[in-house]
C-alpha cells in the first residue's frame, strides 16, 4: 500500500494553488448564476470540488508506474467507450459526448485526456533511444490520433485539439529531432487545410470566419466574441465589483458559468483579478513542469509533462478565447469552469502530478 513517509513529499504548494483556483471558480459561478434559472449551480460545483479532492487523494494511493504499466488496457477501454458514446450516447444539443453512468451524465473525453497522458508516458518513457525521428513517433502518433478523431467526431473539437500539444510536447521531450519538429509543423498546416475543407462542420467554420471579422455577423456567431470582449474590456483596472458586472448579470454572455467564466472574472474583478488568477495558473503550471524536472525516471517526467502541456494548452486557449484572440471553441477553463467531468478530470490530473512528485525518492 502507501508508505506514510511519502506524504512528507506531497507538494503542498500545488495542492493549495489547485484549491484556491477551484474556490475562485465556485465564487465566480455563484456570481454568474445568481440571476439565472439555476442559482444553486455553485453548490453543485462545491460538492464536485469535494469529490475532486477525494478523487485526487485516491489517485495518490497507486504508484504512477503501476498506472502507466496498464496504459494499453486503459487505452483500449477509452476507445471502446468513445465508440459506444458515438453510437449509443444520448444526443444532447446536437452532440454525442455524454455517457450515462449511475444516473449521472459524464463526458468521457475529459478522462480520455488522462488516458492519453498515461499512454504517451508508457510509449516514450520506456523508449531508450536518444533521438527520435518522424518514423519513430508515427505509430504512437496514430494511436493518439485515433482518440482525437473519435472525440472530434462527437463533435467536440476543443477537447480533441488538447491531445495535439499533449502528444507533441512529450515527443519533443523524448528527443524528437529539431528537423522533425519543423516538418511536423508543416504537416499540421497541411492537415489543417484539408480539415478545413472536409472535416469542419458549418457552425465551426462560421465561428472561424466571424473570428476573423466579428462584424460579419454581430448577432450570430460573432456575438459571443464581441460580448466577451466588451465584458473583459469594460472591467478596467479594478473591475465593476463582485456580482456587479452588467455584462454578466444581464445574461447575454453565453456559457458564462462554463467556457466563459473567465470573462465574468475579468469584468467583475478587472485587470487586478486577471493578474492574480493568471499568476496562480503560472504557479500551478510551473510546479507541474518542475515535477517533470524532478521526476526519478523518464516515465514520470513524460507523464507530468503530458499533463502539464494539456493543462497549459487549455488555460492559454480558453483565456485567449475570452480575450477574443482565438476562435470560440467549447473548451472549459480547468478548475474554474462549471462542469462535472472537466473538474473531476482536472483534480485527477493534479493527483497524477502529485503522485509523480512524491515518489521521486522512493524506490
Amino acid at each position: 500500500m502507501i508508505d506514510r513517509r511519502l506524504f512528507f513529499n506531497l507538494d503542498w504548494v500545488l495542492v493549495a494553488t489547485t484549491l484556491i483556483l477551484a474556490g475562485i471558480g465556485v465564487a465566480m459561478i455563484l456570481s454568474a448564476s445568481q440571476t439565472g434559472r439555476s442559482a444553486d449551480l455553485y453548490l453543485k460545483q462545491l460538492y464536485l470540488v469535494g469529490l475532486g479532492v477525494v478523487a485526487m487523494l485516491t489517485c495518490l494511493l497507486f504508484d504512477y508506474r503501476r498506472l502507466v504499466d496498464r496504459a494499453f488496457l486503459f487505452y483500449l477501454i477509452a476507445v471502446v467507450v468513445l465508440v459506444y458514446v458515438l453510437f449509443f450516447g444520448p444526443r444532447i444539443a446536437g452532440t454525442r459526448r455524454w455517457l450515462g453512468l449511475f444516473g449521472v451524465q459524464i463526458q468521457p473525453s475529459e478522462f480520455v485526456k488522462l488516458v492519453a497522458a498515461l499512454f504517451v508516458a508508457k510509449v516514450f518513457g520506456d523508449s531508450r533511444q536518444e533521438s527520435l525521428g518522424l518514423r519513430d513517433i508515427a505509430g504512437p502518433g496514430m494511436a493518439v490520433g485515433l482518440l482525437a478523431l473519435l472525440i472530434a467526431a462527437a463533435p467536440d473539437l476543443g477537447t480533441a485539439f488538447c491531445l495535439i500539444p499533449l502528444f507533441l510536447s512529450v515527443a519533443f521531450l523524448a528527443g524528437l529531432r529539431m528537423k522533425a519538429v519543423g516538418s511536423l509543423a508543416l504537416v499540421l498546416v497541411v492537415v489543417g487545410g484539408v480539415g478545413w475543407q472536409y472535416a469542419l462542420k458549418d457552425y465551426q467554420k462560421s465561428r472561424i470566419y466571424t473570428f476573423l471579422d466579428p462584424s460579419l455577423d454581430p448577432k450570430g456567431a460573432g456575438y459571443q466574441k464581441i460580448q466577451s470582449q466588451i465584458a473583459v474590456g469594460s472591467g478596467g483596472l479594478l473591475g465593476k465589483g463582485y456580482k456587479q458586472g452588467s455584462q454578466a448579470q444581464l445574461g447575454y454572455l453565453p456559457a458564462r458559468q462554463t467556457d466563459f467564466i473567465f470573462s465574468v472574472l475579468a469584468e467583475e474583478t478587472g485587470f487586478l483579478g486577471v493578474s492574480v488568477v493568471l499568476g496562480l495558473y503560472l504557479l500551478l503550471l510551473w510546479r507541474m513542469l518542475d515535477t517533470a524536472q524532478l521526476a526519478r525516471d523518464r516515465v514520470g517526467a513524460c507523464l507530468a509533462a503530458a499533463i502539464a502541456a494539456t493543462f497549459a494548452f487549455q488555460v492559454v486557449y480558453n483565456v485567449a478565447m475570452v480575450a477574443g484572440l482565438v476562435p470560440v471553441k467549447g473548451l472549459p477553463l480547468p478548475l474554474l469552469s462549471y462542469g462535472r467531468s472537466s473538474l473531476l478530470s482536472s483534480f485527477l490530473a493534479v493527483g497524477l502530478i502529485l503522485n509523480v512528485r512524491m515518489r521521486r525518492f522512493a524506490n
Binding site: 483596472l237 517533470a292 523518464r298 480575450a323
Partner: protein
Amino acid sequence: MRIYEDLRIVQGRLSILQSMVVGLLALLLIHFWNLQVVRGRYFRAQAENNRTRAVSLAAPRGALLDRKGLVLVENRPSFNVVLTPEHSEDLDAAVVRLSHALGLGEAVVRERLARRPSQFHPVVVKTDASLEDVAALEARRMELPEVSVDVVPLRAYPLASAAAHALGRVGEITERQIETREFEGLEAGALVGQAGLESQYNRSLMGRDGYRRVVVNSRGVEVGEAERQPPVDGPSLTLTLDSSLQAAVEQAFAGRAGSAVALEPETGEILAMTSIPAYDPNRFTTGVDAALWGRLSTDPETPLMNRVIQGQYAPGSVFKIVMATAGLQEGVITPSTTFYCPGHLSVYNTIFRCNRPGGHGLVSVEQALAQSCNVFFYNLGIRLEIARIASWAKKMGLGAPTGVDLPHELGGLIPSPEWKMRTQRVQWYGGETVSVAIGQGQVSVTPLQLARLAAIVANGGRLVRPHLVRSVGGVPIPIEPPVDLGLKPETLAVLRAGMRAVVDGGTGWRAHLDGLSIGGKTGSAQVVGKARLEKNPTLTAIVPHGWFVAFAPADAPRIALAVMVEHGGSGGEAAAPVAREILAHYFGLASPRAATTAVVAEVAP
C-alpha cells in the same frame, strides 16, 4: 541501490517548455492590460451604450375547449406596466412619477421593486392596465424612459363561474411553489394553474416561453433586436364537458347550494360538473386581492371547494344499490326473496325505523329499491355482515378517489371493523352494520363516486375512470379500460328494474319525463351541522342533503348522473326535479318547468 536514468535531454527540453509557458502567459497578461486598462474606457462605453437585454415573450396558455370545440377558457390581450430599474438614473423620482401617473400607492411600487430577484430585473408594476393608464404613460414617455408597456395574454373565462371548479383558475406562482420540483425553472410573477384542470395540466398548458434579445441605448430605449426565440403556444385541451348541458345544470339548481356531475356510462367522460356556490375565476387572473381571497376562503359555504370531488357526504339510500348488488352477487338473497316490513326493525336493543312509518308489508328487493324500504335492507345488511358490504362498496368505487384528472380529490370512507379498531380502538358492534346498510353512520362518498355507481348499473357492471380531458393539442389521451365487476345478468336485471320503478311511481317520481325511460335512486344524507347551526341559528343546516342518481334511457343509457342539493330535504323532493331538468335538456324534451317558462317567454313580448 537504484540506478538513475540519464534524464539530461528530457530536463533540457523541459526548460524550453517552461519558458514557453511563461512567455505565453506573459503575452496574455499584456493583452489584458491593453484591453482592460488601455482600451478600458472604450469598452466601458460599449457596455453602457450597446447593452442588450432579454425580454421574455410569454407563451399563451393553451385554451380549454368543450367536447364540441366551443371555447371554455381562452386568452385575451392585456397591458402590463413594466419598470426596468437598470435604465433609471433616479429610481426614487421615477417611482414617484410612475405611481402618480397610474394612481397607485408608492408603497405598492416599492414593495414590488423590493421583491425582484436582482437589481437588473424588470418589475411588473401593474398588470392588466387600462387604456387610460396606457395613454397616461404614453404622454409621459420622455419623463419615464424606464417604464414600458408590454402586451401579454391574460386568461379569460367567458362562462364566468360556470364549471369554475372543473376548469380551475390561474394565479401568480407562490414562493412555496417556486421551490418545488413541479415548478422548476419558473420565476416569481409567473402565472400558473392553481386549481382544477388549470393546475392538473399546468405544465402542458403553459407551452414554452420565448424571448427577444433587444439592443437598447444607455437611456433604455430599444434600438434593435439581436435575437428572437419565438414562444411555443401551450396546446389546447379538448374536454369532455358539454357546455350546453353544463349551463342547463347550473340553471337547474336555481341558486341552491349543491353539486351535480353527469358522465357517459360507457367511457367515463364527464359531460357536466357543477359545484355551487362557485366563484368567478376571472377575478384571479391578475393576482387575487387579499380581501376577496379572505372572503372566499373563510366563507362557511366554501365556494372554493369542488363539492363533486371534495364533498364527502353520507350516501343515504343511494347506498342501497350497493346493498342489493352485494346481496344478489353473494347469494344472500335472490330476486324473489322477500322480507316483511312492519315499519321498523328491533335488533341490537334498538328500534331502527323505516322511511314509511306504516310499513311496506312484504317486499322483494326490486320493490325495496323502488320504495326505498329501510327494513328490507336492515335485514339484508345483518345477513351480509359488514365485511362483505365494505368489500362490495369498495369494488364499486366508493370510499376511494376515482382517479379523475383533477387535483386534490378526496376519497370518502367505507367503515369496517379493522378501520374502527385502527382509528378509534373500539370494537365494531352490530347496530353499526344496520346503519351502514342504509348508507348512514360513518359511510361517506363524493358525488362523483355516486355518479359512477349509477354508471355501473347503466353500462352492465363496469367501473369506469371518470375524466375531463379528451385530447391535448389534438392528441387523444388513452382511456383506461374499465374494470369488469362480473355482475350476474339477473343482478343487473333486478337493479335496472328496481331503479326504473323508483322513477315510475317510486320515491323518485318527480324525475319522471314523458318520452324517456329513466332509472334512478333517491337518498338523503343526515347532517348534524351543529357547529354551523350555533353560529347561525337561522341556517337550515339540520335539514338533510337530498341525493338523486340516475341514468337514461334505461334500456340503452347514454348518461349517468348524481345530483346533491344541500339541505334540500329528501332526495325525491329536492334532487329528483333537478335531475329531471338536466335530463330534459340533454334529450331535448319538454320538462314541466321548462314548459312553463317557455309559455311565459311567448306571452311576454
